[in-house]
């Protein structure tokens, strides 16, 4: 039985060879038409999410600085970078003649935004860092990585620059959590249980629009899981702990 199955699989590989070759040839040509109404319509929401995301990131880093005043300089620098990104992405929309649907984007982030504000009020720095420096940053990096492969040339260049910065931000939260892991682990796990499912929902919510932009849902999720897992690994969590945390994304 088992072997039979394997023979079947091998055949699949062979019989797909043609499709594979065809698909390979079209990799670089497989860009969507950036001028269609449906593209622009989807772009109005995705672009807005990105712009709003960068704005929120700016605000969040400024807020986090109130909890760690001696880091104010570094955090202000990060916040400023986010504003630069926001400008870049605004230009991407303008370049395609698209008006960003900011109302949609505000609503899109509202739950996560609310959770961040509650944590901030309570002075829960770990939760704030998890939401902004891990979840939102990993979400952004994954989306940008996938977008770069299918973006128009102007947006591609801007996004490539942004991704380089975003890795720095992910790194910032990572370093703090790593240093304080012994005291913040419990809160990190709890905050993750509440907020990771939100990210998953946000991803699902945006999947249809993303697919119009030729961004594959499966690829987005995988990119997110890679960035997320990498960060948790760097913070010093082991495979089992990471697996337990990642569980929140599939329930």
């Amino acid at each position: 039985m088992h072997n039979e199955l394997k023979i079947n699989d091998m055949q699949t590989l062979e019989s797909n060879k043609k499709t594979i070759e065809e698909s390979n040839n079209s990799i670089s040509l497989n860009l969507p038409d950036f001028t269609t109404d449906s593209y622009k319509d989807a772009y109005s929401r995705i672009n807005a999410i990105v712009i709003e995301g960068e704005q929120e990131a700016h605000d969040n880093y400024i807020s986090i600085a109130t909890l760690i005043p001696n880091e104010i300089e570094e955090l202000t620098k990060l916040a400023r970078m986010e504003m630069k990104h926001k400008k870049g992405f605004t230009a991407c929309g303008r370049n395609l003649g698209v008006e960003a649907d900011m109302e949609f984007a505000k609503k899109f982030f509202s739950k996560l935004h609310g959770n961040f504000q509650i944590a901030l009020e309570k002075g829960n720095l770990t939760t704030c860092l998890l939401i902004q420096a891990i979840l939102i940053e990993a979400f952004a990096i994954s989306a940008y990585n996938v977008y770069i492969r299918v973006a128009d040339p102007f947006a591609k260049k801007i996004t490539e620059g942004v991704v380089k910065d975003e890795y720095l931000h992910l790194n910032y939260g990572q370093e703090w959590l790593k240093e304080n892991l012994s005291t913040c682990k419990e809160e990190l796990m709890e905050a993750n249980k509440v907020n990771l499912p939100l990210i998953k929902k946000m991803l699902d919510e945006v999947a249809d629009d993303a697919s119009v932009l030729a961004m594959d849902r499966e690829e987005l999720m995988e990119e997110f899981m890679i960035a997320y897992q990498d960060t948790l690994m760097e913070i010093g969590l082991d495979n089992r702990e990471i697996a337990r945390m990642a569980m929140a994304a599939i329930v």
């Binding site: 699989d9 062979e14 594979i20 499966e218 990119e223 495979n239 697996a243």
Partner: protein, 346 residues
Amino acid sequence: MFGLIGHSTSFEDAKRKASLLGFDHIADGDLDVWCTAPPQLVENVEVKSATGISIEGSYIDSCFVPEMLSRFKTARRKVLNAMELAQKKGINITALGGFTSIIFENFNLLQHKQIRNTSLEWERFTTGNTHTAWVICKQLEINAPRIGIDLKKATVAVIGATGDIGSAVCRWLINKTGISELLMVARQQEPLALLQKELDGGTVTSLDEALPQADIVVWVASMPKTIEIDTENLKKPCLMIDGGYPKNLDEKFQGENIHVLKGGIVEFFNDIGWNMMELAEMQNPQREMFACFAEAMILEFEKCHTNFSWGRNNISLEKMEFIGAASLKHGFSAIGLDKQPKVLTV
């Protein structure tokens, strides 16, 4: 550091293993969850050569399963992501095991050098095909006489002769063994003619014609599912070396005096103390492994940090001799028929 990139033999199997390893988030997931799962560095291990040198290595599960073969984008991502992880971990030489090297080759992944913020360095990877080809040739030379086949009088058929491993095996057989006749079978006729010209020997033929003539058959291609083999027409004794992936020959060839040998598997002289080969369903998982994996270890033992086996048709006799000598020196040996006392009778 050496690395091994592998995968489970089926989705069900993968879930079972994930559960054992504590990866509950994917163990409970459906195939879609697995399609989005990052590669996992499952195990670190220290290996001591017969010469006394110690090296360290890691096993990376790509989270690919054969059920994903029909989703070429997914399969491509699985392999590239696993390679990126290996490189990020600073591993000098990593072998692409199982389907991953087949995917790399067939899906032309060479054009995907940039993975996120990592530019893949091909010199850190090897298909391990040179060692696999050498091991298959040694298995043939050692085991044929054991079942009463005289190599000098033997006709050997290589099925899949134009592949990377197949062409290397043909090259070795013609130049190094003194076999009586070489029959070469492959799907594509053009590369077959080129190979014949290069070797200045061997006979191009079809599978149906080759099988009844051959004392020894080396399979380095997958077998079409529809194939019907009449074992009555085979020579007796007959040695079948299953050098393809996955290994599924023994089901097709059962009969008295038909000896099926798992090709391209080596045994280490000592217990390694790892769990990863249990995952690969080896008979003696503490010592046995795919020759392609062993190639990464040998290259690390030899501090030979280069993509030793790469691309198609680059395996020379010199390279096979080099890797073969190093293989023996560090304590590897090809598994033989006595490993599987499975002379099957219907």
